[in-house]
């Protein structure tokens, strides 16, 4: 496939193999990453890319295979080894302490001596050098909590470089960024590349692969199925390689037939204990047979909006009408009552809210519906009925493996999401709230989940989708609302919206 290169590869993996119990996550993967390049690794969730990178970073040990860094075989027993060999990882979820300054975060784990002052002074000098060399400027004395998400990510990258990394692994780095911030991140990655740093980018977003990488490796079912030079390939081909069949990235749907208003909020506000306004005068209407998308950068009130609509939190002010039932500060709803009214809720964070990791899949498949028939008869849970229900959901929504008895945590993210979605849609709700429908879900499942949501809409369900993925909002929604700082700052027809205008609105630049 490739001629022998004289220079040693930055990283070479040979025959890496890893199983978790019966799951064969990585199967004999060999790959070479050249120094001073940006290499993308794409694949569906559960394709093994995160596992592979965790092995490279010393978080897991491979069952078999060899890792070479700069031509030398090395033993990666822990992240400490990886750092010693100049490999650094920027995680999807930031590992920063909010109340510390940038500088204090920088020296965490590398304090340098008994007294902090010496280490801090040295770190300050080093930080200035890094900022100069790589164009990564961050105020060292700023508190992390006061920084924007994009800046926090820059701190993470600096932290890794500070520990002497020459090889940088980024795991889904753009998940929390606006399109503008993502562009800035890519500028940084290009600068790093010019300075000789090797960058490995794990992502499922093909647009990003096309924008910034030199080479791309495609993983499927634990194997590298293709390696391409980025300029020789395109999104369609990569998507097909990832899924193993043709996929349609665009969604075909008939225009919506809007019916009666099923959910309406008027002047809805939510103020937390510290007096922070999380929701500010939100007024939305949701009609039968339409999908309304809520776009926004994480943390601008979307989560709280979902919680209030689902009855988990009571509004501080204003009112909410669901299928004719009114909820306000004096008459707070609760999730069970909302469910009885015909409202279903696929929560944003399925692991923390939508399922119980330690429960069997069949137990998770009735969460929220456990009281009353068909699952409870004569005060007892009907085990066989619950199992049969779960098996049916798994069949209909193609949840794999089809094992109702398996612990919920043993399913991949996409399959967990399909199970939760199946549970909520199977009840034929009148109103369906969906938070981050495809977070951590692979392309094949995204296609499926989107189709199911459109199907529910066509059946007359009022669907509200909250997502940080603009592509998703643009392809799914019949109407798009943009949230910023707890307010609805604009409404856009998807036909007339593009990522740029939405991005500006999401950043609070202007209200359209």
């Amino acid at each position: 496939m490739q001629a022998l290169t004289p220079a040693a590869a930055a990283i070479e993996l040979r025959g890496i193999d890893k199983s978790f119990g019966v799951v064969h996550a990585v199967r004999g993967v060999s790959l070479r990453i050249e120094p001073g390049t940006i290499t993308g690794i794409v694949g569906e969730n559960g394709a093994g890319k995160s596992t592979l990178m965790s092995i490279l970073y010393g978080l897991y040990r491979a069952d078999a295979g060899e890792i070479r860094v700069g031509g030398q075989p090395v033993e990666m027993a822990s992240p400490r080894d990886a750092i010693a060999h100049g490999i650094g990882m920027v995680h999807q979820h930031f590992m920063l302490i909010d109340t510390f300054t940038v500088l204090e975060n920088m020296v965490l784990g590398a304090e340098g001596g008994l007294l902090l002052a010496g280490g801090l002074a040295a770190a300050r000098a080093e930080l200035a050098r890094l900022a100069r060399d790589y164009g990564l400027s961050v105020d060292p004395d700023a508190r992390v909590a006061d920084l924007s998400v994009g800046e926090q990510q820059r701190v993470e990258i600096l932290k890794v470089l500070f520990r002497g990394a020459r090889i940088l692994i980024l795991d889904e780095p753009s998940a929390v960024l606006t399109p503008q911030e993502t562009d800035r991140l890519f500028d940084i990655l290009r600068t790093l590349k010019d300075r000789g740093v090797t960058v490995i980018l794990i992502t499922h977003k093909l647009r990003e692969i096309m924008a910034v990488t030199d080479r791309v490796h495609v993983m499927r079912q634990g194997r590298i199925v293709a390696e391409r030079r980025t300029r020789d390939t395109g999104s369609e081909e990569l998507a097909e390689l990832m899924v193993g069949r043709k996929v349609r990235l665009d969604l075909d749907k008939v225009p919506s037939r809007r019916g009666e208003i099923l959910l309406r909020t008027e002047h809805l506000s939510l103020v937390d204990d510290r007096g922070v306004r999380l929701l500010d005068d939100v007024g939305i209407e949701l009609r039968a047979g339409e999908i309304v998308g809520i776009a926004g950068v994480t943390g601008n009130g979307q989560s709280e909006l979902l919680q209030v609509l689902a009855g988990i939190r009571a509004p501080s002010d204003g009112r909410l009408t669901v299928c004719g039932h009114v909820v306000d500060a004096d008459h707070p709803g609760n999730p069970a009552e909302m469910r009885a009214l015909g409202l279903a809720h696929v929560p944003e964070d399925r692991l923390r809210q939508g399922m119980v990791a330690a429960f069997q899949a069949s137990e998770t498949s009735i969460l929220g519906y456990q009281d009353g028939p068909p699952f409870t008869r004569h005060y007892l849970l009907d085990g066989p009925a619950v199992g049969a229900h779960c098996a049916e959901l798994m069949e209909r929504f193609d949840v794999r493996p089809r094992s109702p008895g398996l612990r919920s945590s043993h399913f991949s993210g996409g399959n967990q999401q399909k199970l939760v979605l199946a549970r909520e849609i199977a009840r034929r709700p009148k109103v369906l709230l969906v938070g981050q429908p495809t977070r951590g879900v692979d392309i094949g499942a995204i296609e499926f989940i989107h189709r199911e949501l459109v199907k529910a809409r066509d059946a007359g369900c009022a669907v509200l989708v909250v997502s940080v993925e603009l592509d998703e909002i643009l392809s799914l929604a019949d109407r798009i609302l943009v949230m910023f700082a707890g307010r609805i700052v604009g409404e856009v027809e998807p036909g007339r919206a593009d990522e740029r205008t939405l991005g500006l609105m999401m950043a609070g630049a202007e209200a359209a």
């Binding site: 040979r14 025959g15 199983s19 978790f20 119990g21 040990r61 491979a62 069952d63 078999a64 295979g65 060899e66 075989p73 689902a310 009855g311 988990i312 609760n334 999730p335 069970a336 009552e337 469910r339 809720h345 929560p347 923390r352 809210q353 939508g354 399922m355 119980v356 990791a357 330690a358 429960f359 137990e363 009735i366 969460l367 929220g368 456990q370 009281d371 009353g372 699952f375 409870t376 005060y379 007892l380 849970l381 085990g383």
Partner: protein
């Protein structure tokens, strides 16, 4: 190409998890105990033989072992139910004490008028009610005021103890008695001893403290199992214990569920009073919970909070209690305190260090094909 292969730490098979791991833990504890016993100049094998014979060597010792196990089952179940709800009930001691007060008061009030078949169920219900009420206060403080349940249940043990001393010395003491204990219960307020019951059907066994409360303990095991795994309330309770956010999402009222879990827990602990007062002492006495409430924590831990495991752990603790008493009696250099050390080591190894042998067992059992 160089290929390295390492054993993979997968999960243990279920039988190893439930049976082998606890057995290995106990064996480790016994090895340490043996060393300590040898240091004080006693042949450890001789001591072990005495311990085993003392626990299961005669129908009398088996009776006592089962009688102790009855108490450990009640308190173990009490801790387990709270634990499944994510609550740590350290107050079994006090709940058992007040539960005993409940059944004692019911018997003292009614034993002259009601027959046994009516009075015994009423007294058992009173034990449950009083135990639950004593757990309800810390539960309420946790659910509405955010006071940590570990702290409040511990404090309630002291309150229960002080309250009982006051009541026994000043209110419930039998007229003319020098010791702080109530009058003797009439026969209708007693739970029949096992040796009497067996004699009635023609089986002769030596008298012991074992009484029909053990049937109540086994019934509680089945009831707890059904409740936790086969009712929607048990389902909601376990959801809260594993993931409170998911429980809120599912529509469970966490405050109410905290109350339910703690009241059930307190009721189960309260049954210790039934075994002790109605089954053995036949009067209200001081200090009958004697540490069963605390030992229940170890029993639940060792039994992995499952009724079946709790029965097995309770049997072990019962055997240790009984065998240990015999041991202290037979060998003067092994004191009562020494027996407590032995129990402590077993609790240490099966509770705090429960997962110590896990990596070895995994390396041994979980070989990759």
């Amino acid at each position: 190409m160089k290929v390295r292969r390492r054993s993979l730490p997968g999960p243990l098979p279920i039988w190893a998890e439930i049976v082998l791991l606890p057995l290995v833990n106990i064996a480790l504890a016994f090895i340490i105990v043996g060393v300590i016993v040898a240091i004080i100049g006693v042949d450890p094998f001789h001591a072990l033989r005495l311990l085993v014979v003392g626990a299961v060597g005669s129908s009398e010792s088996i009776g006592y072992t089962l009688y102790y196990a009855t108490n450990f089952t009640f308190t173990g179940l009490a801790v387990a139910v709270a634990f499944h709800a994510g609550l740590f009930n350290i107050g079994g001691e006090g709940q058992a004490y007040i539960g005993g007060l409940g059944c004692g008061l019911a018997v003292l009030a009614l034993d002259r008028w009601l027959p046994a078949w009516l009075l015994v169920p009423i007294a058992i219900a009173a034990a449950a009610l009083f135990g639950a009420a004593w757990a309800a206060v810390p539960a309420w403080l946790q659910a509405w005021r955010g006071s940590h349940i570990v702290i409040t249940t511990i404090m309630f043990n002291f309150v229960a103890s002080a309250l009982m001393v006051y009541l026994m010395v000043n209110v419930l003491i039998a007229p003319g008695s020098m010791t702080p204990q109530s009058r003797t219960f009439a026969p209708s307020g007693r739970i029949p001893a096992m040796h009497d019951v067996l004699q009635a059907v023609g089986i002769a066994v030596a008298p012991s403290a074992l009484n029909l409360s053990i049937v109540l303990a086994l019934a509680c095991c089945v009831a707890v199992w059904v409740f936790l795994w086969h009712t929607p309330w048990g389902y909601a309770l376990r959801t809260m214990g594993h993931n409170p956010e998911a429980a809120v999402y599912a529509g469970t009222n966490l405050r109410r569920m905290t109350m339910v879990a703690m009241c059930l827990s307190g009721a189960l602990a309260g049954f210790v009073g039934v075994n002790e007062l109605m089954g053995v002492h036949h009067r209200i006495v001081l200090d009958f919970p004697a540490g069963y409430g605390f030992a229940g924590i170890a029993v639940a831990l060792m039994g992995r909070s499952h009724p079946l495991g709790i029965v097995l752990a309770a049997l072990l603790f019962g055997a240790l209690q009984q065998g240990g008493a015999e041991l202290a009696f037979e060998i003067p250099s092994i004191t009562r305190e020494m027996v407590v050390v032995i129990q402590g080591l077993i609790i240490l190894f099966s509770g705090a260090l429960a997962h110590l042998p896990r990596p070895w067992l995994q390396a041994l059992l979980v070989r990759r094909a």
